[in-house]
């Protein structure tokens, strides 16, 4: 075993340690011993000894296998090849224990046995195998119904929260939408043809449990259009302490409806007079705070669908960006044709104009939201105004004059 005095320190303390896990694996997998050895060396030298990329893959696919090589193969022969395989996760990350056992057996046979449950995109990650093991591993995976996920300049494996399968707040069937879009974009998932990565994430409500707003190029976040449903008797029960706040998930016994709910409403659109809770729904921004605090008293309305946001990414030069609204409300019903069509239009525009490694959000920043909306045939809506304008000039196109002359209506407050 390699000596790892620096890594050993990570085994102390109360939290589970990946070093402990890797040492256990190293007893039966020599490449994992080399992995610890190389990592120790990187900790000492403060540089990485990994190279990544190259030409490895499985026949027919350009995605899902990430070539990794050590630049110290003589010292750590187990890491001469240490490729990553991304396995497309099931919607909502539901596995049977039998499926997990099968996956682990396949990976023990063909790789290092080291797993990452799950990567940032959502895939199940197999870490560390040799080139000659890729095809046999892929064959065994597909025989059990699994497929490889996306990587490189491709559609990445879409991911979703568990939605309606367990969560009463889900405003649409996230798992079905995720599955259908995954199927629809199989070609683009396996055969990279975009300027860079494109991630789709589906959250059932604005709690956004998959952090789509920060991590997906295109986020579908469940939302309701009508009024929040209020059960006034249950509100009274919260006020009286018979019902516990946040479904009992806090240390507090009793909710102070004014201090904990209405005063914390970000748009101050709620009021509570000690008897009746009122919501000015036109000014609710659907933040979920009140619903999270009193899940038995408040529920999303009946007219449900999703808001589509676009453009989050975390590039090194510009810094992280959240996505912004492009469609305030879309009904989410099978077979999700409207969403599929919009996704095709966006990816086509981006593939046409994007530079290598330019995310769709960066392209919009470069070419402007106006060019984007025109290209994908979406109307400009007030909800997509992200910041007040800082530029006093407006460039009128001939088409604006023509549209006005033909009677174009502008948005009004009425």
């Amino acid at each position: 075993m390699h000596k790892t005095p620096l890594l050993d320190q990570l085994e102390s303390g109360p939290f589970p340690s990946f070093v402990k896990d890797l040492k256990r694996m190293a007893a039966k997998k020599p490449q994992v011993n080399d992995l610890l050895g190389q990592l120790e060396r990187s900790y000492k030298e403060k540089i990485t000894h990994w190279k990544h990329g190259g030409i490895v893959g499985v026949l027919g696919y350009g995605s899902g296998i990430i070539g990794r090589y050590s630049d110290l193969p003589d010292e750590f022969p187990g890491l001469e090849h240490f490729h990553t395989m991304r396995i497309n996760q099931p919607s909502g990350w539901y596995y049977t224990s039998q499926a997990l056992r099968e996956l682990c057996d396949i990976w023990d046979e063909h790789g290092s046995g080291v797993l990452n449950m799950h990567g940032a995109t959502g895939d199940l990650i197999f870490l560390g195998t040799r080139t000659e093991e890729l095809e046999p591993c892929f064959e065994k995976l597909t025989a059990k119904g699994w497929d490889i996920g996306g990587s490189g300049s491709a559609m990445r494996s879409p991911s979703c929260c568990l939605g309606m399968s367990r969560c009463e707040w889900s405003c649409y069937d996230t798992m079905e939408a995720c599955y259908q879009l995954t199927q629809e974009f199989q070609f683009d998932l396996h055969r990279p043809s975009y300027p860079y990565k494109y991630k789709l994430k589906f959250s059932g409500c604005p709690n956004d449990c998959v952090a789509a707003v920060a991590r997906a190029d295109m986020s579908m976040i469940g939302v309701w259009k009508d009024d929040i449903k209020i059960d006034q008797a249950a509100v009274q029960a919260y006020a009286g302490g018979e019902l516990k706040p946040e479904g009992g998930a806090t240390v507090y016994d009793k909710l102070d409806i004014k201090a904990d709910v209405t005063d914390l409403c970000p748009t101050l659109c709620m009021s509570w007079d000690g008897k009746t809770l009122k919501i000015d729904n036109a000014n609710c921004n659907h933040c979920m705070h009140c619903i999270n605090m009193m899940p038995k008293a408040l529920k999303p309305g009946n007219e449900r669908g999703c808001t589509i946001l676009l453009g989050s990414h975390a590039p090194i030069l510009e810094g992280a960006q959240m996505s912004w609204v492009i469609v305030p409300f879309m009904k989410m019903e099978e077979p999700f044709d409207e969403l599929k069509d919009l996704t095709y239009k966006i990816t086509e525009w981006w593939a046409e104009h994007g530079k290598n490694r330019e995310r769709v959000g960066e392209l919009i920043m470069r070419m402007g939201m106006r060019a984007f909306l025109e290209a994908v045939e979406l109307p400009p809506v007030p909800q997509s105004v992200r910041t007040p304008r800082a530029n006093p000039f407006f460039f009128w196109h001939q088409s604006d004059f023509d549209a006005e002359a033909a009677g174009r209506k502008y948005y009004t407050t009425k």
Binding site: H52, I55, V56, G57, Y69, S70, G152, A154, R191
Partner: protein, 80 residues
């Protein structure tokens, strides 16, 4: 004029072969080059012609900071 499917496959293969060692081509570069010469070629034809080259092993996808389509060569990212 649009090329028949078989000819299109060969046309793209020659393009990739000629670029070897000089320029790494993305799928979109190939599509744009085809459409420049053959503006009426359906885009989907290009997609499936590339697929045919990849499935047959005559071309491979590579990743060097972006995904490219190239002729197969000896594995060696460690040397890049």
């Amino acid at each position: 004029m649009a090329l028949p499917k078989d000819e299109l496959v060969e046309y793209i293969y020659k393009m990739v072969e000629a670029a070897a060692g000089k320029k790494q081509l993305k799928a979109k570069d190939i599509e744009k080059a085809v459409l420049k010469e053959h503006p009426d070629q359906p885009r989907n034809d290009v997609k499936f012609a590339i697929k045919e080259l990849i499935d047959g092993g005559r071309c491979v996808y590579t990743y060097f900071g972006g995904s490219f389509i190239e002729c197969p060569r000896v594995e060696g990212a460690a040397k890049h």
